[in-house]
Symmetry: C2
Subunit: 467 residues, 2 copies
């Protein structure tokens, strides 16, 4: 059936009030057909991640991405209003490419060996001095080990956090969550015992030469020391060497924390015709780390959300509820955008009936995870069976657990918080690395994710939440 025939048929179904079940199934099929055949999200993603590139909060590229997505939304006839919502965000710049070497050998004989290591500064890290850091490495596998070792062992050393991601976790996000404390808190915890710097095993289950950056956070009142990630191959090498030798490392980086700047969320809105005060949000985050093109993280989430709007427009859909497409700024290192959005929304007394974030990559969608205030979320899990009936032909489920960093601040509005759950097997191969580029996103997988998001938005808009 041609698109125009579909539109006519949908209109016919609506006017005649034919069985809602069939209408929903038919519309969700149209969503998938349109997205898979004509969706433009791949072109948008190529622009965001190849043409613009990495979009670190506060960078010129981040502002280019704001303008680009603002213009896309402005160009859609279905959109009633587009705004750039200001938010104060930190600005951190990487500086020169980091330099790292290790040296080991028998000090009595003086026959040292040395090799380069693949490292990258963690977000918010301060720089080493101009001379760099030279120190012996102490390997640990948890933050708590530091206390056991104490100053006697750690003073003036480079602490090397080397706990790997657990390959046994079925959801890789969980394994990531369990390993990432070393990266986020390692520097301040080690600094408290006099360490000069920290090297953190990249948070990935892959064995390769790519260092993975990501946010790290200094605790108040503790000296700031440089914090860098190291590739898993090099981490394994050092760990092996340490079984036989003392290993000395040389590290040099030059990042800078600048003054905060004003950046923007981009917010597009379609006003609801029947329940305009019940808002359904779809979103992703515009900012990314600087190493790659932010293709999976989270260019994919942004173009998923944009595709929801474009598909609804192509299918001539008139929502009952207000639907917002939000490109958040600064998810990676501060959540400035998410917090500003929730604050403004709360001040206006808004109610987000549901917020759906896509921030787990552009892989084949497996379904949705949802959370929120227990009063709403538990009721929805029962209701979700009704939704799943329509999602089942697309192999999509709705399960408990999920949301998104940018939408979590909306929790107090007591609506649903929902995260798209793509297949997670490959996400942490690319996450926060130079490999997070457009060519590593599969066009079909990306489009399936957009179609899944659009289908859920449609069902939420049509059916609402059981009271």
């Amino acid at each position: 059936m041609k698109l125009i025939q579909k539109i006519i048929f949908i209109t016919f179904l609506s006017v005649t009030g034919l069985v809602a079940q069939d209408e929903h199934a038919f519309f969700i099929k149209s969503i998938h057909d349109y997205t898979l055949e004509s969706g433009q999200c791949t072109e948008w993603l190529a622009h965001l991640s190849d043409t613009i590139g990495g979009r670190l909060t506060g960078s010129e590229n981040a502002e280019k991405a704001v303008d680009y997505t603002y213009n896309l939304l402005e160009g859609m006839s279905i959109v009633d209003e587009v705004t750039k919502q200001p938010c104060k965000v930190p600005k951190w710049v990487r500086g020169n490419k980091e330099i790292g070497n290790i040296r080991w050998g028998d000090p009595k004989k003086g026959n040292y060996e040395a090799q380069k290591i693949n490292i990258t500064s963690l977000g918010n890290s301060i720089a080493t001095s101009n001379r760099g850091v030279i120190a012996d490495i102490v390997e640990v596998h948890s933050l708590d080990t530091l206390e056991e070792l104490g100053k006697a062992v750690l003073q003036d050393k480079v602490v090397f956090f080397n706990r790997p991601m657990d390959p046994k976790k079925i959801h890789t996000g969980q394994a990531y969550g369990e390993a990432v404390d070393q990266r986020v808190h390692g520097a301040s915890r080690a600094a408290a015992y006099g360490a000069q710097a920290v090297l953190v095993r990249s948070v990935t289950a892959q064995q390769d030469d790519l260092p993975h950056t990501g946010v790290q956070s200094y605790a108040d009142g503790v000296e700031k020391i440089p914090a860098l990630a190291i590739s898993t191959n090099d981490a394994n090498t050092i760990s092996e060497l340490l079984k036989k030798w003392d290993v000395t490392v040389y590290l040099k980086n030059s990042p800078e924390v600048m003054d905060s700047v004003i950046s923007h969320n981009v917010v597009g809105e379609i006003k609801g015709s029947e329940f305009p005060n019940e808002i359904i949000l779809v979103g992703g985050h515009l900012d990314s780390w600087d190493l790659g093109g932010g293709a999976h993280d989270d260019g994919s989430g942004c173009v998923h959300a944009l595709q929801v709007f474009e598909t609804l427009q192509a299918l001539n859909y008139k929502p009952k509820r207000t639907i917002r497409c939000v490109m958040f700024m600064n998810e990676e290192n501060g959540l400035g955008g998410g917090k500003a959005y929730a604050k403004a929304s709360n001040e206006k007394g808004e109610y987000h009936m549901a917020a759906i974030e896509s921030d787990a990559g552009g892989f084949s969608p497996r379904g949705f995870g949802c959370s929120g205030d227990p009063s709403v979320f538990k009721k929805f899990l029962a209701q979700a069976q009704k939704f799943e009936e329509f999602l089942e032909p697309y192999d999509l489920y709705i399960k408990a657990g999920g949301g998104g960093a940018d939408i979590n601040p909306l929790k107090s509005q007591k609506g649903l918080l929902i995260g798209l759950r793509p297949d997670g097997s490959r996400y942490f191969d690319f996450h926060h690395t130079t490999a997070d580029v457009f060519e590593n996103v599969h066009p079909r997988e990306l489009k399936l994710g957009a179609a899944a998001m659009t289908s859920l938005v449609y069902l939420l808009d049509q059916i609402g939440l059981d009271k």
Copy 2:
């Protein structure tokens, strides 16, 4: 918990007869833990697809694969018996690399342009003469169009079948099934109208330069003509050119159909302790096309099945039912192995309670599709909810529809026929091409598939089928 502790705990649960529910959930977690952490299927696949390489039926490589997997099974202490089961199979060899060029332009002015095209012989194709084929191209989009055009148009031409795979199908296997008639039957259908050869658009939704081979089948009583596949990029180019010009093609290939040979299925068996006459089969096919390394198709299926055995061995499992690991020969061009296996099994009066084939790639498993005699299969769909309870934490479903080419001949035994359903988004990017190599299989995705298969085998063995 360490593996040995797990084994003790499982034994404890068995001995004490503690709640079967918990025991099943715990064992399936152990299956996943072991496979993800220690499964050897990636190493086996590297050997099959990199070290041995493409394993066309009747080739030396195919026999190497027989020996390799036979030896692997022989080396497993859990296996009671390993056999090489003879089967008569066709032997087709590709010969030299195919040569293809197109030429177009204005014959009045004599200013022709020309370019090379990416082509590959389809399986069973005969060779062109030594001089090759030179003819004008006629593009069609379906087999039925041939009758409309008739000899008047098709005589002495090269028929170019150019119907693309439908990107809208959610399961790419369905889109493949709908497009593949051109490849399988195109040559004989076109020969009936006097065509000299056929060129078939590669059955993939990707746009690239890779020609995809695959089986084609000559009808009895019709002249055999050469049949070749062409890359989707070149197919699009020719289609565009044909809108303005006559396009002439030059094709030369040199495959040969040799005498049939004897090859082998490899069959490993663990004898059941309680119901030895109820057989549960897990399998894949050893043979592959020659262009790549047969990594997804179907090295992955073979190592999935082998991993089932290795994992059960590592967990010290003693099955109640007989479990067979079968590496079938000749799935790609004749099903010689599958037919020989079923024939021998039927002659012995065996009953395959369930046969599970993995032949859709080494991608993240989504679940299982099942079919079979209605009397059994419909009852199982109701029972499957019990199974799904245990599979749900691993995001695995059981749905209607599926099986496998090699196990389908077992249908008359009225057991279940089950196909592993991996995510299909990327399968036809690699299928039957030079890109079907080990590096394009993700180790984690491969292992998840093996763990899914093992879990289902375990549940079928423990619970059996509702009578």
